[in-house]
C-alpha cells in the first residue's frame, strides 16, 4: 500500500500545493509586516485572478493570455483596494480592519455572482502541458510540474528582490521599523502600495494557476485564505522567509496527511475507526501542526517583531 511511488507523488503534490500557498502568503505577510494591516480580502484577490483568467480564457482559449489578464487584473484590483479602502484603515485597530475586509469579501463574492453567475468556470491547461512526465519512474502531470517550477522561480525572484535590491531593502526595513523608515524620508504609503499591488499580483497568479486543478466559483477564496493565514501564523507573521517555509510545511503536511493518515489509521485502529475519523483527522492535521508550532514558539517559526 505504502509504495515509493505513492510517497513521491504526495511529496510532489505537497511541494506544488505549498508553493501555491506561498504565492498567496507572501503578499499577505508583507502587507502585514509593513502596514500592520489584516487583509482578509487577499482570498478575494485570488478569486478575482481565477475569474479574470477564466473570462480571458473563455474569450480567447489561450491559457497564457488568461494568465496575463489574471495577473494584471488582480494587480489593478489590488491598487484600487489599497487606495479606496485599505489606506483609510491603516491607522485603525485590527478589529476595524477585520470587519471592513470581511464586508469586502461578501461584496466581492456577490459581484462575481452578479457578473459571472454562480456556476463554476473552467480553464484548461495549454496543449503543451497536458501530458505527464516520468520522474524517478513515476508519471507526474506536466501541468503540476509547471506550477512547481513557476513557484520556485517566483520564490527565487522574490528572494532576489527582497535581499539584493534597494526596494527590497526598504521593504525589509519597513517591516522591521516602519516609523524609522518613514522618518528617514521614505514614502511608506507608496512602498506599501507597491507591496500591496505585488501581493495582489501573486494572489491573482495563484488563482489562475490553480484554476485548471480546482473549480472556479464564488467563495473559492475563503478556504485558501484561511490556509494562508495558518501559513503566516506558523511561519511567523511579517516574515517572508517564514511564509516560504511555513507554506512548504503546511502544503506538505496537508497533502501527505490527507494521503497517509487514513492509511495509518487503518493500520493502527482498524478499518471502521479509520473510515469514521480518517478524513476529519486529515483535514485537521495542519491545524494541529500549527498548534504544536505555536505551543513551542508563540511567535511562529521565523517570527520577529509582531509576535
Amino acid at each position: 500500500m505504502l509504495t515509493w511511488n505513492v510517497l513521491l507523488m504526495q511529496v510532489l503534490n505537497g511541494l506544488q500545493w505549498g508553493l501555491l500557498l506561498f504565492l498567496l502568503s507572501a503578499g499577505l505577510t508583507l502587507v502585514f509586516g509593513i502596514m500592520n494591516f489584516v487583509n482578509l480580502t487577499h482570498g478575494s484577490l485570488y478569486m478575482m485572478g481565477g475569474y479574470f483568467g477564466a473570462y480571458a480564457y473563455g474569450q480567447t482559449h489561450s491559457f497564457w493570455l488568461a494568465c496575463m489578464v489574471a495577473v494584471v487584473g488582480a494587480a489593478i484590483v489590488g491598487v484600487l483596494l489599497d487606495r479606496l479602502v485599505a489606506a483609510s484603515l491603516y491607522s485603525r485597530d485590527h478589529l476595524d480592519q477585520v470587519l471592513a475586509t470581511f464586508g469586502l469579501i461578501l461584496i466581492f463574492n456577490e459581484l462575481v455572482r452578479i457578473v459571472w453567475g454562480g456556476n463554476t468556470s473552467v480553464v484548461n491547461p495549454p496543449e503543451m502541458l497536458t501530458g505527464s512526465v516520468e520522474i524517478f519512474g513515476l508519471r507526474y502531470p506536466l501541468y503540476r510540474l509547471m506550477i512547481i517550477v513557476v513557484g520556485l522561480l517566483v520564490s527565487g525572484l522574490l528572494y532576489f528582490i527582497i535581499h539584493r535590491t534597494r526596494i527590497g531593502m526598504l521593504i525589509r526595513a519597513g517591516a522591521t521599523n516602519t516609523k524609522m523608515v518613514s522618518a528617514l524620508g521614505v514614502n511608506i504609503k507608496r512602498l506599501n502600495l507597491i507591496v500591496f499591488a505585488a501581493g495582489a499580483l501573486l494572489a491573482g497568479l495563484a488563482g489562475v494557476l490553480n484554476a485548471p486543478i480546482s473549480a472556479i466559483q464564488p467563495g473559492m477564496g475563503e478556504p485558501i485564505l484561511i490556509l494562508a493565514l495558518v501559513v503566516i501564523v506558523t511561519g511567523g507573521i511579517g516574515s517572508i522567509k517564514g511564509a516560504f517555509y511555513g507554506a512548504l510545511l503546511i502544503g506538505m503536511a496537508d497533502m501527505v496527511g490527507r494521503a497517509f493518515l487514513p492509511i495509518a489509521m487503518t493500520e493502527f485502529f482498524g478499518r471502521a475507526a479509520a473510515q469514521l475519523t480518517g478524513p476529519a483527522i486529515a483535514s485537521m492535521g495542519i491545524y494541529l501542526l500549527m498548534a504544536i508550532v505555536l505551543i513551542a514558539r508563540p511567535q511562529g517559526l521565523f517570527g520577529g517583531r509582531h509576535a
Binding site: 500592520n36 479602502v85 476595524d96 470581511f102 469586502l104 463574492n109 475563503e222 484561511i226 469514521l276 483527522i281
Partner: protein
C-alpha cells in the same frame, strides 16, 4: 472624539459608600431593562397581527444576541478579537443533537454536558491562543475554529457535511422547548439574566481588570495582576454564553449541521457586536436584532422596486450586508447604540 465611557477602566472610588452606590447603579442598566420589557411583548404583538412567524424570527435574533453578548465580553471589554466563537455555538448544537440522537432529552443533562465540553474546549483553545498577542490571536482563533469545524464535518455517524435533523425537544421537566412562545420566553429570560450578570461582572473587580488589560496590558502586568488568568477566564466565560446560545438555536431550527461553525458565523457575530455598539451592555443585542432583521428583510421583503430589482436584491443580499459592514467599519465606530444613544446622553 470622546472615548466610550466603558472603554476606560474606572477604578473603584476610595470611599467605600460611593463605590457601592456606583456599583449598584451600574448593575441596573435601564436601557437594557426597557429593551427586555419591549421584547417581552413581541409574542403578543405577533399573535395580535396574526404573524406568528415573527416569534420564530425574533427567537433567532435573540439567540444570536445572546451569543453576541458573550463575544462582547472578550471582544469589547477584553479587547481580544476572537474570530472563532462559532465553535462554541457548534458545541452547544452538537452536544444537544448527539444526546438527542441517543434518546437523552433531559435539557438539564444536555446543558450540563454542553457546558462541560465547552469549558474543556474553550479552556484548551483559550490557553493556547492567548499565548499569541494581537493579530496572531485573530488568526489562531480562526484556525482552531476551522479545526473543530472539520472535526464535525468528519463525524460521519452524525450527518457529516450535511448534518441531521432532530425529532425531539429539550425537556426541562417543568416545560418543554417545543412550543414557539415557550422557547422565545426561555431565550429572553436567559438573555435578561446574562445581561444583568455581564453588567455586574463588568463593574466588578474582574471586569475592571480585563478592561485594564485592554487599555494597557503591560501596565496591568507591572501592577502585579495575573493578566493571563483573567483573560483566560473571560475567554471561557464568553465561550460558555455562546454554548448556551447553541443549545437554544438547535432547539429552534431542530437541525444539527456544521454550518453553525463556519468561519463566516464568527464574522457575523463580530459584526453584530460592532454594529450594535462594542463594549456596551445592550449594544450586541441591538446589533444582533438589526443584523438578523436585515438578513430577513433584504432576502425576502417586497420593496416594490421596478423591474427585477426586488429579485436582484433578494438574490444578492449578502453583498448588501457587505456594504453595510464596510460602512459601519469605516464610519460608525461606536455602532448603532453607541452613536445614537451614548452621544445624545452625553450632550444632555
Amino acid at each position: 472624539m470622546h472615548e466610550i465611557v466603558n472603554n476606560s477602566p474606572r477604578w473603584p472610588a476610595t470611599n467605600a459608600n460611593a463605590s457601592r452606590l456606583e456599583h449598584l447603579s451600574a448593575s441596573v442598566n435601564w436601557t437594557a431593562a426597557i429593551l427586555i420589557l419591549v421584547l417581552a411583548l413581541v409574542p403578543m404583538a405577533a399573535s395580535a397581527i396574526g404573524e406568528l412567524y415573527y416569534v420564530t424570527l425574533m427567537t433567532r435574533a435573540l439567540i444570536f444576541a445572546l451569543a453576541a453578548v458573550g463575544l462582547n465580553l472578550v471582544l469589547g471589554y477584553g479587547g481580544l478579537v476572537s474570530f472563532g466563537h462559532s465553535v462554541y455555538l457548534g458545541i452547544g448544537v452538537y452536544t444537544v443533537g448527539i444526546m438527542m440522537d441517543h434518546g437523552i432529552t433531559n435539557a438539564w443533562l444536555q446543558l450540563a454536558a454542553a457546558l462541560l465540553i465547552g469549558t474543556i474546549v474553550a479552556g484548551v483553545i483559550g490557553a493556547l491562543s492567548l499565548r499569541v498577542k494581537g493579530v496572531g490571536f485573530i488568526m489562531i482563533t480562526l484556525a482552531f475554529a476551522q479545526l473543530l469545524y472539520f472535526f464535525c464535518v468528519g463525524l460521519r455517524d452524525y450527518g457529516g457535511d450535511d448534518g441531521f435533523s432532530l425529532n425531539g425537544y429539550s425537556d426541562f421537566g417543568l416545560f418543554q422547548l417545543g412550543d414557539n412562545n415557550t422557547l422565545y420566553y426561555a431565550v429572553l429570560a436567559v438573555l435578561a439574566f446574562t445581561l444583568l450578570w455581564v453588567s455586574r461582572l463588568i463593574s466588578a473587580r474582574f471586569g475592571m481588570v480585563i478592561q485594564g488589560c485592554k487599555s494597557n496590558e503591560r501596565r496591568m502586568v507591572a501592577l502585579g495582576f495575573p493578566v493571563f488568568r483573567y483573560q483566560w477566564a473571560a475567554y471561557v466565560l464568553s465561550a460558555l454564553i455562546c454554548v448556551v446560545a447553541g443549545f437554544f438555536i438547535v432547539n429552534l431550527t431542530r437541525y444539527v449541521s456544521p454550518a453553525y461553525m463556519q468561519w463566516t458565523v464568527s464574522g457575523e457575530l463580530i459584526v453584530m457586536v460592532v454594529v450594535g455598539g462594542i463594549a456596551t451592555i445592550v449594544g450586541p443585542v441591538i446589533g444582533a436584532i438589526a443584523i438578523v432583521l436585515f438578513e430577513e428583510f433584504a432576502s425576502h421583503a417586497a420593496f416594490g422596486l421596478p423591474g427585477n430589482a426586488d429579485a436582484f436584491i433578494h438574490e444578492h443580499w449578502l453583498g448588501a450586508l457587505g456594504v453595510v459592514i464596510l460602512i459601519v467599519a469605516l464610519c460608525l465606530k461606536q455602532g448603532l447604540y453607541g452613536s445614537l444613544f451614548k452621544r445624545s446622553a452625553r450632550r444632555a
